[in-house]
């Protein structure tokens, strides 16, 4: 007698569970082609970002894996800083964890054809559900074995070497190479490309190796591989050495000694000067700007010397760092203060904004000087004027308003400003054999 209400409720549950799954699947199937068309339409209007591709991958995975668990999995960690998390949130999550074991068991039940199996399995699933709260606390589930798996390694190393930043460094170097007044040599270009990439990976890995406890305490950096224990410090240092040695060797002997020296100097400057200096003095920002300017080694790779044009390109890269970094650091003041980082945005806020504006204007001036130094034609400062004026305007707004909104606008502008500026420089490059002033062209 006791069995019958159980079987009725279980059948109802499976019915509801089954209907729920069917509805969710149908919705996913119907929505994905619509979203894909939407993406295709937009691809002409805006750049397809990494997020779009990620989104498509996620949709594909949820369709493939038709279990309910995949779709209602709650977020593993709370977004706010842990020591401010409320206990009620944990209780709510414990309730969700309790609910979850019931539904998948009903899923498995719905697939069994015979009723007898339903009756037999039902009591165990109910007891499982009730004890689920007592077993394995949420905290214990989050403990992970520190075992390195071969298929995880590429992803871990990519994050260790800050692959996106490395990509940016390599592209500015390539732009420098292309801008240099020398015939484009593919083999030299590839050697520079690979050498610079390796040097950048090495520098970034050592930086992360030094900063583990500080990275743990900042929201922006708390998911780095060394912080999460996905890789040991020894392996990180070995990886850095395995990148630095071939990278610098490639640059020195494959390209030219000047480029090799610049690469080595940059690794030293970033790891041994900038990283420790961040915790001692605000001078770190200027050192960091020099680090950002050294990708001018792309130019030296092509020409073999640091001429006026190289210095101008270096100057542009150097000046760009300030609006970029100062705007970014404006929103991180709390984390910097708590973590003990000496940044202008915390200690000298007025200076921070002044410097950002100053360098936006310097960018304008340097772009105007480009044709005078035979780097580009006179069309370049004219075409670049709108974007330079825009970033200067945002720099001025940041200087005047000094709030989060203006700092974010300036930061996001800087992200597209530099690639676009370099692209414009390339299109307006002074070709070999052309005479100086534009007036001579008919």
């Amino acid at each position: 007698m006791a069995a019958s209400p159980h079987t009725l409720s279980s059948r109802l549950l499976t019915g509801w569970g089954g209907a729920c799954i069917w509805y969710l699947e149908g919705r996913a199937m119907r929505e994905s082609p619509r979203r894909f068309l939407h993406l295709l339409r937009n691809v002409n209007q805006q750049w397809v970002t990494f997020q779009h591709i990620n989104f498509l991958r996620r949709m594909y995975v949820t369709q493939l894996n038709r279990s309910l668990k995949q779709q209602i999995k709650p977020k593993p960690e709370p977004a706010e800083s842990p020591f401010l998390a409320k206990t009620s949130l944990d209780e709510a999550k414990a309730e969700i964890c309790e609910m979850r074991p019931l539904v998948p068991s009903s899923l498995s039940l719905s697939r069994k054809p015979s009723e007898k199996a339903l009756i037999e399995l039902e009591p165990t699933s109910v007891t499982e559900g009730s004890i689920a709260l007592g077993k394995e606390t949420k905290e214990e589930k989050q403990w992970k074995e520190m075992k390195l798996r071969a298929d995880d390694l590429p992803g871990i190393l990519a994050r260790l070497s800050k692959i996106k930043l490395t990509a940016l460094v390599v592209s500015t170097t390539s732009a420098g190479f292309a801008l240099a007044p020398a015939p484009f040599d593919w083999s030299c270009f590839l050697l520079t490309f690979v050498g610079t990439g390796l040097a950048s990976c090495a520098a970034n890995s050592i930086n992360q190796f030094f900063e583990v406890p500080f990275d743990s305490n900042m929201n922006r950096t708390k998911n780095r591989p060394l912080v999460r224990g996905q890789i040991s410090p020894l392996l990180a240092v070995s990886f850095a050495t395995c990148c630095a040695v071939p990278g610098v060797a490639l640059l020195t002997w494959g390209v030219n000694p000047l480029t090799g020296a610049l690469g080595l100097f940059n690794i030293f400057l970033y790891t041994c000067c900038y990283t420790p200096l961040k915790r001692v003095s605000i001078a770190n920002t200027w050192v960091g700007a020099v680090v950002g300017a050294i990708p001018v080694m792309g130019w030296t790779a092509a020409t073999g010397s640091l001429d006026a044009g190289a210095c101008l390109l270096g100057g542009i890269l150097y000046s760009w760092q300030f609006p970029h970094f100062n705007a970014l650091s404006w929103g991180l003041r709390e984390d910097y203060s708590r973590g003990g980082y000496c940044m202008m945005s915390v200690t000298h806020p007025a200076l921070c904004r002044r410097v950002a504006l100053r360098h936006c204007l310097a960018l304008l001036a340097m772009c105007a000087a480009a044709p005078a130094l035979d780097v580009t034609t006179w069309t370049f400062p004219v075409i670049a004027l709108p974007i330079n004026l825009y970033i200067s305007y945002l720099g001025f707004r940041f200087y005047r308003d000094a709030d989060r909104k203006s700092s974010r606008k300036l930061f996001f502008c800087s992200l597209w400003h530099l690639p676009l500026l370099l692209l414009l420089m390339l299109t307006c490059k002074r070709r070999a054999g052309e005479e100086g002033a534009g007036a001579q062209q008919s």
Binding site: F83, K135, W143, K222, R333, S337
Partner: protein, 181 residues
């Protein structure tokens, strides 16, 4: 019988949780986590509530050499030292921040809670004074911490290298013995 076993384990869990709550007052609490027996690796846990650092449960192999033991003890000691520093730091920050907010709100003549019942806060620009003050107050503390952290980090990595070499050497040595005899 199975049910009584389950009840027993549930009671044990409840007892452990209550003990955990009692210990919660000190922020140097050690997690009750115990890794599965068949695992031969270290285990790393979620970020600590106070220090934001992830605790590591070190695996002790049966045939642990003196060098390995030294490394493990150094890592454990560094972990405890780091935990203490950052827990203190974060709690001090939180406490001083609340005091600052309270004093500023009182100076402005505002209530600690707005009409809607939510906690009143200062905007980022008003907080900037606090951030600057906190940073300069803790500057010397950070200088000492940085120096010690770099020393420990290098030492740990150096010993990890030595242990790795020792293991490789031990793996090669039995083979050498076999070939020689």
């Amino acid at each position: 019988m199975a049910e009584s076993e389950e009840l027993k384990s549930l009671l044990m869990k409840v007892k452990e949780e209550s003990e955990k709550l009692a210990e919660n007052s000190t922020f140097r609490k050690v997690s009750r986590f115990c890794p599965p027996r068949k695992s031969h690796h270290d285990w790393i846990g979620p970020p600590d509530k106070y220090s934001n650092l992830r605790p590591i449960h070190f695996y002790i192999p049966e045939n642990e050499s003196p060098l390995e033991q030294k490394l493990r003890e150094l890592r454990q000691e560094t972990q405890d030292w780091n935990q203490q520093f950052w827990a203190d730091q974060n709690l001090a920050f939180q406490k001083e921040k609340e005091e600052f907010v309270r004093s500023r709100l009182e100076a402005k003549g505002l209530d600690l809670r707005a009409a809607s019942g939510q906690k009143a806060t200062l905007n980022a620009e008003e907080m900037a004074d606090f951030y600057k003050e906190f940073l300069s107050k803790n500057f010397q503390k950070h200088v000492h911490y940085n120096r010690d952290w770099y020393k420990r980090n290098f030492a740990i990595t150096f010993f990890m290298g030595k242990v790795a070499l020792e293991r490789i050497w031990n793996k090669l040595r039995p083979k050498q013995k076999k070939t020689s005899s």
